[in-house]
């Protein structure tokens, strides 16, 4: 049994090309033992041993990018939060930023109040 690294479909050992995407076995495959059925009831998971994926050679024709028009509006899940955080626009936590802003506001208020009193 081998797994096509292009579409991740299982193929029989004797098949030289992926039955789904026609990728050549020797160029886009990961050989595995016959996948074992996993038991239930918390008895643990047996996973087939995988060899490292083979490098794809130039003989496989592939587009540089499958998306030829505008990129999708959705981002990879998780990366949007990271981007939002880096711009300080929300995300998980901005405690330090909030505190610093608060301190600055207080100082400004004290400055203005002081000037008014001096008048």
């Amino acid at each position: 049994m081998w797994i096509c690294t292009k579409c991740e479909t299982y193929n029989e050992d004797h098949e030289q090309y992926c039955c789904i995407c026609n990728a050549k076995k020797n160029e886009a495959s990961v050989t595995v033992n016959t996948p074992q059925q996993t038991p239930f009831q918390g008895q643990g998971v047996k996973r087939p041993e995988l060899k490292p994926a083979e490098r794809i050679t130039e003989t496989i024709t592939r587009p540089t990018s499958p998306i030829r028009s505008d990129p999708p509006s959705s981002l990879v899940r998780g990366s949007r939060d990271d981007l939002m955080e880096s711009f300080g626009m929300g995300g998980r936590s901005n405690k330090l930023t909030t505190a610093l802003v608060a301190v600055n506001v207080l100082l400004l208020a004290a400055n203005i109040l002081g000037r008014i009193l001096l008048l």
Binding site: T9, Y10, G42, I60, R62, P63, V76, A102, V105
Partner: protein
């Protein structure tokens, strides 16, 4: 000047164990009507975990009569046995792109299911429609192959929709599609009753609706074929098949023998395939294996699409293709 108060919210969630898994974040019921889900970890590997809201096991601490307690325990055991049978068949159908349950257990009064975590790419169907035809066909063949394996084992997924089909980037830089969420699945020989059906009305097959209103109907893997016809339309065009605005859903239009509008940019021979997949009578729809064969046979014709960028969609009556 108004007062300024600073509130630093303390994280309330504390990772804890459910069975032998460590829950990493609060569970949510987002996009899941009959369960809560989240992510967990075991042996340094991340998994997806789901908590079923029903059934609820009657713990000894709950004050119940012996008779009611025994009845509830029996319901739980029957439910568990049924699930284990279905999941066994699903694992047997594995072709690389199913995400079957790998653990099913009870912790406290609730039952939990664990699957591998899929590192999916969040791309909506409109974006998929901009993939080139080669990639669209790969996705469609992956789906047809996966569901034909399920059908070979008499398993009906029964909740086919884009939310349950996760796009994933593979090691080769291509995209494949993973099938998740088998909560509504059943063995075709033992379909649920109408009020037990869990499904999305957008992708509902006509016979499923009939079963829900207790009309005679056969629930077979062909209900997945119908739903997949709608999904294929979305993959190929970025939108749902059109229908008259007096209807809310595709199945309503089909039940009333109303015309469906297939996007003009879909290659003509694929329009015919979709027309057959969206037939009112299940017997007239192709099997998923026949769908796979048809897609492979139509592959060469699809290369024409490389020359035509998707234009503003316009409708074409499906009836025209049968003239």
């Amino acid at each position: 000047m108004g007062t300024l108060s600073i509130t630093i919210k303390k994280d309330e969630f504390v990772p804890h164990n459910i069975g032998s898994y460590t829950l990493l974040q609060p569970m949510t019921s987002n996009k899941s009507g009959f369960s809560k889900w989240g992510f967990c970890r075991k042996n340094d590997k991340d998994y997806f975990i789901k908590e079923f809201l029903n059934p609820v096991y009657p713990l000894d601490s709950i004050d119940l009569s012996r008779e009611i307690r025994q009845k509830k325990i029996k319901q739980c055991e029957d439910w568990l046995a049924k699930k284990e049978l279905i999941y066994k068949r699903i694992r047997k159908s594995q072709n690389g792109n199913l995400v079957p349950p790998i653990d099913l257990f009870r912790d406290g009064s609730h039952y939990y299911l664990v699957t591998d975590k899929v590192d999916e790419i969040s791309v909506d169907c409109k974006a998929i429609s901009y993939f080139d035809m080669e990639h669209k066909l790969i996705l469609m063949k992956v789906l047809a192959n996966s569901f034909s394996k399920l059908a070979d084992n008499n398993v009906v997924h029964a909740d086919v929709k884009l939310d349950n089909l996760l796009l994933k980037k593979t090691k080769s830089g291509y995209y494949t599609i993973k099938i998740i969420d088998f909560d509504a699945s059943f063995i075709a020989d033992d379909p649920p009753s109408g009020d037990e059906m869990q499904c999305d009305f957008v992708y509902l097959a006509p016979e499923t609706f009939l079963a829900m209103i207790d009309e005679p109907s056969d629930l077979t893997p062909k209900i997945d074929v119908f739903a997949m016809g709608i999904v294929f339309h979305q993959i190929l065009s970025g939108e749902m098949p059109g229908f008259d605005k007096e209807y809310d859903y595709v199945y309503e239009a089909v039940l009333n023998d109303a015309e469906l509008f297939i996007n003009k940019n879909i290659p003509p021979k694929f329009k015919v395939l979709l027309a057959y997949m969206l037939k009112k009578q299940p017997a007239e729809r192709p099997s998923m294996r026949q769908v796979l064969t048809a897609i492979k046979a139509l592959e060469d014709d699809s290369l024409y699409a490389k020359k035509n960028a998707p234009k503003k969609p316009s409708a074409l009556k499906i009836a025209d293709d049968f003239d």
